[in-house]
Amino acid sequence: MSSSKTSSEASSDAEAHADPAARLIHMANQIAKTMETRRDFIPAEGLASHINDFWEPRMRRKLFELLAERPEALRPLVHEAAPLIRKPPPEGA
């Protein structure tokens, strides 16, 4: 079964409805939880490649902001994968 939640993860579930940042955090953690269980690739690589394939640049940009601003809200695997996530072009490009 999945490992327990990070401290602020639980509260982010409830906020997710209203707060787009919380929704993004929820989504990233959800992918992380699945990737943590996979053995067919290195979980951090799996997470990064999933986000690279399916998240449009603005969402990735937000994710990088959240990694910096609310690091505790994101599971360790998201942090581990961060260097492998493609840096989006700057806003407005």
Binding site: M1, D13, R23, M27, T34, D40, D53, M59
Partner: protein, 964 residues
């Protein structure tokens, strides 16, 4: 490339079904030699030789019955005059169909029939379309010598008193009538209801001269009976006894004005013959050569097409500056330039990524292709998504990962060879009714059934159908159940090692075995969590693994979960484990929701994929389009529907072109959707009606119905079927033309003259469609992709020689509970689904007589839960979740388990999706419609939110009177 075999696609009735035998028998009929498969009837053999033996009770979609005695023949060396429909051929048999003796006998039989039949042919609704009339002519009946004292057709006896044998017409069904006075008791309707539809609503009551067709019990009429209005009986009836009301009103169709087209409702994709009189549609008749439906239909495709001419349909383009203004009817030119200027302006102000599209799974492949092309080539971004996002996107992900292709593995015919059928999270008898009937036919022949569903659906138990195992799982625990099934198969040694060694990645199989064999995945360990009794689950697993050809059919009960993609992977694992892939009768089959979900995915509607499932990051695929379209494509994935709405709420996404979708009603968490739409500055709705989404739109482009345009739909079997224009678009343009005009208003310079040219572009650019053309579809009737040089006639079965990705890949399926949890505030789980007579948001079916079967969404609640809350049948109840609340009426039933409630989402005044949440599948963002924690309390009527919503909707739908 081998020559195409052009099939015989005429409507000729061979009298009895074709035999499947490989052994051939040669006989002679009226001196002509004919060779047919063993088991063929003499009647069919004669028909093959071009000789039509007169008949009344026989028709080739029903087993022979031998009751009318009209098809008598003489066979050399045999005594008497056997019925040709029930006599099988034998080698060397010499048959004579037109001897003096049988001619006399047939005349006598017809004379008796006609003596109890009204002679009102000229004013009869079946005039010109009546087999009784045809046969009277064929046998040369010239006089009726009997003066019947008692008849079934005279309302009054000769003396003027009421005739007790006379039964009045039953007009209770909105689409057809039953007129007992015209009935010849051939039993074709009863047999069609049993054999084809499998409902068993009809019977013959009484004996001998008292025999009558009867729907349900003595006190029933057709509407109150178990009849599901599929139309099979009407089609089978040789007289005017069962007759479409449309034919009664309009007259018989023009035999030279009918076209074969494809139903625009569910993913079964039934072929229909649209029978016309001028430009008026008289009726839709299921086409016997349609390979998806094999001549069958359901109440929606057969009868519920009236929405296309409903008064609510909008026929002129409309615009408005802001959504609080009323609509203003304008010319096409003005509407399109208004839309184009706004979209371009938004991109200038907010950036290239600030606008996007939602393509339609209801529109044709060609239309969908153009809408995604508009995004990629004209908007120059990848912000395109489709409603498949909210239904089968996990199928694309899960089957893509494991097998290498995003589609079902079988054709529908495959079910005829299944020995075990495992249905997970699907309710085919309601949502895919024609396939449901085909499945039930196989079950009645002895195939065994396993149903995994929180509800006791009709498949679990209905006349002559009973599931061997029903696993009534708690909503949200699919992964745990599927993994437990695999646990049993692995730990009891029931897997097919030879298949796995030959076809799958061995290392990953071993890793998967190590994972599923852990005791924590055993049915005993997961029983408390899933609610499925361990012993029942074990038996089901054993049956699936060892019962012969085993096929899995699944629906949105699998995909619409936080772990939808993981369950799809788990299902793919089950089929690989047991070697149930790559031959007829087995496979993994997603039942698609809408007519063109498969096609809209194939056509590159997803923001990360170009047509043919090629990721936008791939330079090779991009370059194909860049060369053809003369633009540089964005290599970054675009926004998915939920991401578009999030971005809109945040102010980054400002303009949307939404074709043939009603996201406000169909997408979860209505308040979030409406907030997103309200934040946009240009919402273009392209639809038949002012749907709910249009309440927030600035431009309305009136759409054309499926009857009014050419194109193709691709059904759940990857079958590309033609949609043919049977009448001119009432709104002036086909939808593909409207998209082209919008693109051109933005400077695209497209010049497609016909959808076939769009298909040519699709074929040129998409490897799996390389061999597809309108000519080929016209010649073959339909074609299943992949269709290319390797498979010029298409591919009914996938992964026959090996998996598309090479070797099949097993992937671990860890159960991760959804964050949507019950608790003291919301102690019940809500799950949602469809009902037979309605379709999705109901925009079409609510505008037909189908509302007679379902005029409002009801909340199914178990008697225990209802009693605890003091709720009685029919009471208004308030249904609340953390996302919102609504009110609807209660239906107390034990079809749902205690702790689970269920409703449909067909009616906007219920708006079940105000309650569903924003949680979604981890991989694809497919919303978790199937699990919402709710509370239910007695209520006095519609909620405040519903009242406000209706007021807003009413105001938003105002249209200014046209300027004189």
């Amino acid at each position: 490339m081998k020559d195409l075999i052009i099939p015989d696609l005429t409507d000729r009735d061979f009298g009895t079904p074709a035999s499947r035998s490989k052994k051939m028998v040669t006989l002679s009929v009226d001196g002509f030699e004919v060779t047919v498969p063993e088991g063929t009837s003499v009647m069919r053999a004669a028909a093959e030789a071009g000789i039509a033996v007169p008949k009344l009770c026989a028709t080739d979609n029903l087993e022979s019955f031998g009751s009318c005695r009209l098809c008598l023949v003489e066979i050399e060396g045999r005594a008497g005059t056997p019925a040709s429909c029930t006599t099988p051929v034998t080698p060397g048999m010499k048959v004579h169909t037109q001897t003096e003796r049988v001619k006399q006998l047939r005349k006598g039989v017809m004379e008796l029939y006609i003596s109890d039949h009204p002679l009102d042919c000229l004013t009869c609704s079946a005039n010109g379309d009546c087999e009784l009339q045809d046969m009277a002519g064929a046998v040369g009946l010239r006089e009726v010598r009997y003066e019947a004292e008692e008849t079934h057709f005279r309302a009054r006896a000769n003396g003027g008193e009421a005739n007790p044998l006379f039964l009045p017409k039953d007009e209770s069904n909105p689409y057809f009538t039953y007129d007992p006075s015209k009935c010849i008791v051939c039993s074709r309707c009863v047999r069609a209801c049993e054999e084809v539809q499998g409902t068993f609503a009809l019977t013959i009551a009484g004996r001998g001269f008292d025999s009558r067709v009867s729907a349900g019990a003595v006190f029933d009429d057709f509407l109150s009976s178990a009849c599901v209005s599929c139309g099979a009986c009407v089609q089978a009836c040789p007289t005017a006894t069962l007759q479409e009301k449309s034919v009664i009103e309009i007259g018989t169709p023009d035999p030279d004005r009918s076209l074969i087209t494809t139903c625009a409702y569910c993913g079964v994709g039934c072929s229909f013959k649209a029978e016309m009189r001028g430009d008026e549609l008289v009726r839709m008749v299921p086409w016997k050569h349609g390979k998806a439906n094999r001549g069958h239909s359901c109440v929606k495709g057969r009868f519920a097409y009236g929405y296309a001419s409903h008064k609510d349909r909008i026929l002129n383009p409309m615009i408005r500056e802001t959504i609080d203004e009323p609509w203003r009817e304008v010319s096409w030119e003005e509407a399109l330039s208004f839309a184009a200027n706004r979209l371009r302006g938004l991109q200038e102000t907010y950036g290239r990524q600030s606008i996007g599209v939602i393509t339609s799974s209801r529109c044709t492949n060609e239309e969908t292709y153009l809408v995604q092309k508009l995004t990629r080539a004209v908007f120059r971004n990848n912000n395109t998504d489709t409603c498949a996002r909210v239904c089968h996107s996990p199928t694309g992900y899960g089957l893509g990962q494991t097998y290498g292709t995003s589609a079902g593995t079988q054709d529908f015919d495959s079910v005829e060879q299944s020995d075990v059928i495992l249905v997970i999270g699907a309710n085919p008898t309601d949502a895919h009714p024609v396939f449901g009937s085909r499945m039930k036919k196989r079950l009645r022949q002895g195939a065994q059934l396993i149903v995994v569903d929180p509800r006791r659906t009709d498949l679990v138990k209905s006349p002559h159908i009973k599931a061997a195992h029903h696993l009534p799982l708690r909503p949200g625990t699919n992964v745990a159940v599927v993994t437990a099934l695999a646990h049993v198969i692995v730990t009891e040694g029931l897997f097919d090692e030879a298949f796995i060694r030959e076809r799958c990645e061995w290392d990953e199989f071993q890793d998967y075995v190590e994972f599923v064999a852990e005791p924590r995945h055993s049915p005993e360990a997961t029983q408390m969590l899933t609610g499925v009794p361990a012993e029942e689950l074990r038996k089901a697993a054993r049956l699936y693994a060892t019962g012969g050809n085993a096929a899995i059919y699944y629906g949105l009960g699998v995909t619409e979960h936080s772990q939808g993609s993981t369950t799809v992977i788990g299902i793919a694992n089950l089929a690989m484990l047991t070697g149930n892939i790559g031959r007829p009768g087995v496979g993994v089959n997603p039942l698609r929701g809408q007519n063109n979900v498969q096609g809209s995915c194939d056509m590159g509607s997803f923001p990360h994929e170009l047509p043919g499932y090629r990721h936008v990051k791939g330079e090779a695929a991009r370059s194909v389009y860049e060369a053809l379209w003369g633009v540089t494509l964005d290599p970054e994935p675009g926004l998915r529907i939920p991401n578009m709405l999030d971005a809109a709420v945040e102010g980054a996404f400002k303009g949307l072109y939404c074709q043939g979708e009603d996201i406000l009603q169909s997408d979860p968490d209505t308040k979030h959707v409406s907030a997103g739409l309200a934040a946009m500055e240009c919402v273009i709705v392209h639809d038949l009606f002012l749907n709910e989404t249009a309440n927030y739109a600035h431009v309305f482009l009136p759409g054309s119905s499926f009857l009014e345009k050419d194109g193709t739909f691709t059904n759940a079997e990857r079958r590309i079927n033609r949609v043919r224009k049977v009448m001119s678009p009432r709104n002036g343009y086909a939808d593909w033309e409207i998209t082209q005009m919008l693109a051109n208003a933005m400077g695209a310079g497209w010049s497609y003259q016909h959808p076939s040219e769009i298909m040519e572009e699709i074929a040129v650019t998409t490897p799996s469609f390389a061999g597809v053309s309108y000519e080929k579809i016209d010649a073959l009737g339909s074609v299943q992709w992949p269709c290319n040089e390797a498979a010029p006639e298409g591919t009914p079965l996938m992964h026959v020689e090996g998996f598309v990705r090479g070797r099949g890949k097993f992937i671990r399926t860890e159960y991760i509970p959804t964050d949507e949890k019950t608790g003291p505030r919301y102690p019940l789980l809500l799950t949602t689904g469809r009902i037979l007579s309605q379709y999705n948001v109901g925009a079409q079916t609510r505008r037909t007589e189908n509302v007679m079967w379902h005029d409002q969404d009801l909340l199914e609640i178990h008697p225990h839960d209802a009693e605890l809350r003091g709720i009685r049948e029919g009471d208004w109840v308030r249904l609340a979740s953390r996302a919102g609340e609504t009110s609807l009426r209660a239906k107390i039933t034990d079809r749902v388990s205690p702790g689970v409630v269920y409703t449909t989402f067909h009616h906007p005044d219920t708006q079940a999706n105000v309650v569903t949440t924003d949680f979604s599948d981890w991989a694809t963002n497919c919303p978790e419609y199937k699990v919402t924690a709710v509370q239910i309390t007695p209520s006095n009527g519609p909620s405040e939110w519903q009242k406000e919503y209706n007021l807003q909707a009413e105001a938003a739908r105002r249209i200014l009177p046209a300027a004189e």
